[in-house]
Amino acid sequence: MNTAAPISRRHFCRVTALASGALLVHVQALGEIAVRRRDHNAKATPFSPGAFVSIDPNGQITIIVARPEIGQGVRTSLPMLVAEEMDADWASIRVEQAEGVDAAAYGDQYAGGSQSVRNGWDPLRRAGALARTMLVAAAASQWGVDPSSCTTSHSTVHHPPTGRRLSYGVLTTAAAQLPVPTDVTLKNPAAYSIIGHPTRQVDGDAIVHGTERFGIDVRIPGMRVASVERAPVIGARVLSVDDAAARAIPGVRDVITIDADALPGFGDNSPRPPNGVAVIADSTWIALKGRRALRVTWSAGAAAEDSADRRAECQRLAALPPERVVRNDGDVVRAFVGAARTLEAVYELPLVAHAPMEPMNCVADVRADRCDIWAPTQNPAGARDVAARITGLPPAAVTVHITRSGGGFGRRFYSDFVGEAAALSRAIRGPVQVVWTREDDIQHDFYRPASCHVMRGALDDRGQIVAWSQYLINAQRGEFLRWQLPAGVTSLPAGDELGPYDFPAGFVPNLRLAATALHSPVPLGQWRSVEESTNVFVYQCFIDELAHLAGRDPLDYRLALIGASTTMPLEGRGSYDAQRLRHVFELAAREARWGTPLPAGMGRGIAGAYANHAYVAMVAEVEVDSQRDIHVHRIVAAADLGTVVNPLGAAAQIEGSIIFGLSAALKHEITVAKGRVTQSNFTDFPVIRMNEAPTIELHFLRSAGPPLSGGEPGVPATAPAVANAIFAATGIRVRRLPIRRVDLAAS
């Protein structure tokens, strides 16, 4: 049994006095703090807090991580924040994944937008500091000394004047009886012994021994496996199913049609899955065999959808006036008339898939009064809500067991795969694991939207940019994510994928950003670094074009444009510091020895941005050989991520982002023909492999501010750095991704 007594209205601090003597520190979403003692016989879930630490009387410190681990390293970086401020012995802490979803206790639990460390920075450090303060108070009162004469290290309170010491474990019972301080003092960063120190991930050992459990590894008693044949044409419905051959296969238990169009639970950031027919079997292989034996007749669906037509439509729209002007500074028309030189260029980006290494999967166990979901999800609350609406159960009756995810990249933010599993478990009245094949994954993704950008630039007689215009034709995020519109609003304005503060907004006197919406039935979603993955490519290539038009060095040209600017406004009340952007450009260039000669056939390209909340610039060294094959030999990157909590993990994120960005630059393209996605596996949707991976050199700018981000900001600059390097090597300007050999043949 647990009781909670509010101590302070403002801080919502609570102590629960219970038998076992375990001390729990609980930090709520907005930095609110509660301290509890937990009875080990009691269920942990009723008060499952967002991020908390418990100390057993035997000294075992457990730190709970509420956000999903998708490879971004939160199971290491978030506990580091807690452990630092409580002076816990890092080597002996245990990390546990929070069970279930509880917004009131945890706050946001999603993994997305590169914000986990940034948003955890304050509350998690405060959680650690609070635990430490109370443990010190307990020791000091036992010794009869002033708490300020005590120090802490390695999970122990010391009293240096007398040489006494007490480990945290023996202090938990006493600490939990103490009043909860209403405020705590955080460490001076100079005293950090965990934050800022390269720290290997806590799950490494389980991973190299094959014992780490991902979503696809979940096994529960009585569980069947399902494989789903999904509508081959976008939007098609099941007309009829001949499942006789499938049902004849020993081990096939059932065949169930999923009328996804009729399932409740989707909408508002949660697009629905395609319609499908599921084969339920005793094992994955039998389910796959059963599925192959199905004969399904489908309705026509969006059989007219075709990527080539859509591209032509984009180009047609590009010639028309935009639907909406997102930003309009100065007088662009007049500036163009009076310009010494002008340039117009059209950039195009394709649909791309996420293709995380672990295909989508989910185990659902729907009972009359409860539902358990085991899902490699980036969005546990979204998964819960979809499951609740499909099963008709209240959200509180749905438990989402958050498993490790084999990559995410935005794909697992959507709960289509959870909804399918919940619907199937409800239909068969038992637990079922839905396993997607790679073909399912590539063909039924929510793709990064394809886009077309008409760029225009005007230079004065000294080569300076006097006018800049970007006209974007692209899908509408609010439309493809099915945002619920406020009352009275019937459609969303075009241009929600165009940042009105994107570079060079604020640096160029006459600037116009405009957009027209493109509508298509292709399922779309957000992809690692979201619109920055396309916009930064476009503006960092186009500024390169203008630099060359002006006869200027591309680095100097960018630096001159930034000039002495400092605080640049962002949407809302945010801002970024243009000098920090300058510094990452300078650092990347210096470390890459920008301007020094390279062998023939090779070129250097630079690109950088404040994007996804951080500053990253990079120089790519690229060779285009006599066969017109592209070899990216080296990428030198500089990043200002604010305070880097775990340099080893943050570096992994930037390194990985560069490889991810490179796959998009050189390989990725999803096309739709007659309403069907053409690509199906890593053969026709290839990714960068070991033999194609460049050497990556990464330099962090020393930065004292709070952490910014890590998971995404390395992606956007990669493609433009490579395209700019290809121009430097060959004189050929590539304005369309992925960059193909054929683009380099025309010289």
């Binding site: 490494g204 292989w285 290494m357 490790r404 992994a652 890593f682 492999r689 070991m690």
Partner: protein
């Protein structure tokens, strides 16, 4: 069909259709989920195991092809002489999501068994079949070189 397999030095029985790929026998029938499913067509390497000491795509091998041959999975890598490689992986903090890493380790173990001191080109050739979507290639390369160093360093 009833089969006896030799997995990680143990005789293991499975009753599965004869055309079942070894991958699904390991994962579904034997609860050895360390070996991963990534593509099902031999294109990603996530399912790599050692068959007779050689890296093999278990998604492409019907289980009958494994009968009578020793199979080593990631769960048995330590006992099969892989500790040094695993230690190198940990030292370099290779994994991000970790999903591909079982396959990467098995491919690397196979490489080092044949080529104890591989060059970068030999690493490229041996590892190009193993995709890491998280992009850990640089650290994988360093870990393989580290595992190949003389034990004294």
């Amino acid at each position: 069909m009833r089969l006896t397999l030799s997995i990680n030095g143990q005789a293991r029985e499975a009753d599965v259709p004869a055309d079942t790929p070894l991958l699904w026998v390991l994962r579904d029938a034997l609860a050895l989920t360390g070996t991963k499913f990534g593509c099902g067509i031999g294109a990603c390497g996530a399912c790599t195991v050692l068959l007779d000491g050689v890296a093999t795509r278990s998604c492409q091998l019907p289980v009958t092809g494994a009968v009578g041959k020793p199979v080593t999975t990631i769960e048995g890598l330590s006992a099969a002489g892989g500790r040094r490689l695993q230690a190198a992986w940990l030292h370099e903090d290779v994994a991000q999501c970790g999903y591909c890493q079982a396959g990467q380790l098995m491919a690397a173990a196979s490489l080092l068994a044949r080529t104890p001191h591989p060059t970068d080109a030999e690493i490229d050739a041996a590892m190009a079949g193993n995709i890491c979507r998280c992009g850990t290639y640089g650290r994988i390369r360093r870990a393989i070189h580290r595992a190949a160093e003389p034990a004294s360093t």
